[in-house]
């Protein structure tokens, strides 16, 4: 079940294309990471989804809302750099936005207390927001986005500005929230995405380069390599290695033999047996997996 369907979504700023034709769906109940380096177009995309920017072209369709319904009833949004009325207390602000989202005063109050507790700033509930630290504002930002129990929660770089502890706590919080809502969050750090997301949208230069369940993408982009270092004349071993049927290719790079294999178990046994029998002067024998990380780095660096 898709919560949102995006088709041919484009956005230009004064002729400069920031987002160039996106097509994707967000599946209900999933945590989706929008991953991409700075300037990829993540913020622009999220702002269009939340209605803060008008698409230059394309459509965004929220399922399960009828034509005339205000989609803002069903979405929560945390901007990349949230800002608040600093003269209000955290609790006042939550009650305020709760009432804006059509909760009654009592409901808003109850919901505010619940969320302050949940995001871990209950003890600062009655402090002016002006006195909050960056991490506390981030939590308040998540709380205000959740106040009306939206079907889709969108978070723009929710952990990027936090220290490692704050980052851990916010990721944990997202883990809990995913029981209640679909979450779309952006990040420029693959680790954050891998840690929590179900599905990944990889974005670069305004386009989606890769999308799908992260497990599948990890497998798809994982190839196995053996890295072998031999003390003397490594080049003389290339042909010997290529002779094994379990080995696809072998090349020498900076004194290391990089061996691409099609059957890791078999290749490992064959090579080690040969090395033992023929007394190769082995220094290092290592199994290396290339991962999504390498794909991401390749994308990012050009």
């Amino acid at each position: 079940m898709a919560v949102v369907e995006v088709r041919q979504l484009e956005k230009s700023f004064k002729g400069k294309e920031a987002v160039k034709g996106l097509d994707f769906e967000l599946q209900r109940g999933k945590v989706i990471a929008l991953l991409g380096p700075n300037g990829a177009g993540k913020t622009t995309t999220l702002r269009m989804l939340s209605g803060l920017l008008k698409p230059t072209k394309g459509t965004i369709r929220f399922s399960e809302t009828n034509e005339n319904e205000d989609i803002r009833n069903h979405i929560g949004f945390l901007p990349q750099y949230p800002s608040f009325h600093s003269w209000m207390t955290g609790k006042e602000f939550l009650i305020y936005v709760g009432q804006l989202a059509h909760l009654s005063k009592d409901e808003a109050q109850e919901r505010a207390n619940e969320l302050l507790e949940k995001v871990g700033i209950a003890n600062a509930a009655n402090q002016r927001i002006g006195k909050y630290s960056g991490g506390m504002k981030q939590r308040l930002g998540i709380a205000q986005a959740m106040i009306h129990q939206p079907q889709l929660l969108m978070l723009d770089e929710p952990v990027s500005s936090l220290d490692p502890i704050g980052r851990r706590e916010v990721l944990q919080l997202m883990e809990e929230l995913k029981e209640q809502t679909t979450i779309l969050f952006s990040t420029h750090i693959l680790g954050d995405a891998e840690e929590i997301c179900d599905d990944l949208l990889l974005m670069h230069n305004g386009k989606i380069l890769e999308s799908g369940p992260i497990k599948e993408l990890q497998i798809k982009h994982q190839t196995s390599l053996l890295e072998i270092i031999i003390e003397e004349n490594p080049e003389t071993y290339i042909d010997r290695l290529k002779a094994f049927e379990s080995i696809e290719d072998c090349k020498l790079e900076k004194g290391k033999l990089l061996v691409a294999v099609n059957d890791m178990d078999k290749a490992r046994t064959q090579i080690l047996q040969a090395a033992l029998q023929e007394k190769w002067p082995l220094i290092k024998f290592e199994l290396r997996r290339t991962t999504l990380e390498e794909m991401f780095m390749k994308v990012v660096s050009g």
């Binding site: 803060l52 920017l53 803002r72 901007p79 608040f84 804006l100």
Partner: protein, 258 residues
């Protein structure tokens, strides 16, 4: 419901930023300054002395109906500036700081958002203006002679229509520009442009909003509300309503994020 929520939040914000203290004080000051000066200055000069022998200090005979008009003159100059200054960031400030990104992704009706803020500022201005004019009436009555309640309230109500217009202009620019400074400049620029136009076309455009003051002057003199005053007031209310509706469109069309 939503409207009241925003309205109350605005009032609370103005309270916490002390506007509920200093705006009334400034209005009172503006309103009583000229009548008091006019009354006391010659008397002070006279009692201090230092005037050359034989110079006669004249105590100008100012009728109360003219003395109270001095308050309006001050309000037309500095009152408008003050109103533009306290209104300039009502919406533009939220857009500039980014709070609007949180508020307007909630299912907020744009027209409620605009009119509740408009009403909250107008309320602050109404209270401040009332205090200022009542103080002025008190001193005028004391120093220049009696002024009938009928005339006072005629002046009070019709001039308030002009103040509604000044607030509405500033609110309108709030939905067009994202920087409070530019909103202020555009609002003040508009007031000045309008007053120049009103002077240029003085005879041909009695219905012009700016002419409300001069019609009030004749109201003070004659005690009659002229049809020109009714028309000017009607036109001013009409333009204010149109500006509010235009603000709604303007905000709807605006990109709410930088």
């Amino acid at each position: 419901m939503q409207w009241m929520t925003i309205f109350k939040k605005e009032l609370l914000g103005d309270w916490r930023s002390m506007k509920w203290i200093w705006v009334p004080l400034v209005f009172i000051l503006l309103c009583i300054m000229d009548p008091l000066m006019t009354y006391f200055m010659p008397r002070i000069l006279d009692s201090v002395g230092g005037m050359p022998e034989g110079a006669v200090i004249e105590f100008p005979e100012v009728p109360p109906t003219e003395a109270i008009m001095m308050s309006l003159t001050e309000l037309s100059m500095f009152g408008s500036l003050l109103i533009a200054a306290i209104t300039m960031s009502v919406i533009a400030g939220e857009r500039k700081s980014g709070v609007a990104e949180l508020i307007l992704v909630k299912p907020v009706n744009y027209f409620s958002y605009i009119t509740s803020k408009w009403a909250a500022k107008l309320f602050l201005i109404f209270i401040s203006y009332s205090l200022g004019m009542l103080a002025s009436w008190y001193y005028v009555d004391l120093l220049f002679g009696g002024l009938s309640a009928e005339r006072f309230f005629g002046l009070f109500i019709f001039y308030f229509i002009w103040l509604i217009f000044t607030v509405t202009v500033a609110i309108f620019y709030n939905t067009i520009f994202k920087r409070p400074g530019i909103v202020l400049a555009a609002s003040v620029g508009t007031y000045i442009a309008l007053s120049i136009l009103a002077q240029v076309f003085a005879n041909r455009s009695p219905w012009f909003p700016n002419n409300i003051s001069s019609h009030i002057r004749s109201l003070m003199a004659s005690g009659e509300v002229s049809s020109d005053l009714w028309i000017a007031a009607g036109v001013t209310v009409g333009i204010s309503i149109i500006l509010l509706i235009a603000s709604n469109f303007s905000l709807r069309k605006a990109e709410l994020a930088e």
